[in-house]
């Protein structure tokens, strides 16, 4: 499956890009995180503490245990600070 993976705020800064296409066989978000972290140090660094991260699947907040089946866009970012 091919996913659009988006990064925001310090996740974007650590990984060094805001968006990429990722070819993956990951079943869950956690699988995808493990796959990316194994790639390069900058990914491992960005994903080091999942408690300080949030994930959205097709623009809805989700859990790291959520399945990726049918998903087109995955976004990783820190807790939001709007308002």
């Amino acid at each position: 499956m091919v996913l659009d993976v988006l990064y925001f705020a310090w996740v974007r800064e650590r990984i060094g890009l805001g968006r990429e296409r990722v070819e993956t066989t990951a079943v869950t978000v956690a699988d995808l995180v493990a796959e990316l972290s194994a790639r390069e140090e900058r990914y491992a660094l960005a994903f080091a503490d999942l408690k300080s991260l949030r994930v959205a699947l097709d623009q809805d907040l989700a859990e790291f245990s959520a399945p990726l089946a049918g998903v087109r866009e995955v976004a990783f970012f820190p807790p939001m600070t709007g308002g």
């Binding site: 705020a9 600070t81 709007g82 308002g83």
Partner: protein
Amino acid sequence: MAVRVQAEPFDLGAESTAFAAGLRRAGAMVTFTGLVRDNGGALQAMEIEHYPGMTERAIAAMVDEAVTRWSLEDALVIHRYGRLGPQDQIMMVATAAPHRGDAFAAAEFLMDYLKSRAPFWKKELAADGSAWVAAKDEDEAALKRW
């Protein structure tokens, strides 16, 4: 009901006037405006990043939820992104209802959700460097009251 996500400044006075002019049955109108605090003069600018698409979608869902919970005649959310200076207006919410309790509750509900559930991230730029604003536990806790 209207949601606007924009880089441009908004005119709080003109928005308030226009919102009020559209009302036909309201007895109460509340506005909230968020401003860039300059932290005692140290702040040079604030950069606000957001997630285009999800932002509008998330805010629209909050407004829909507010409409189901309270008797609202109208609601408006404007939120800026990009580079802002000290005391610039970041965002505003307006609500109108027959009675003041509903107008206040809906405005506070929208603010609590915008703080922690709308995909915005703030970075503070100062002379001695820049830092992402950390989410506060109290903002997450504030959601529990709804």
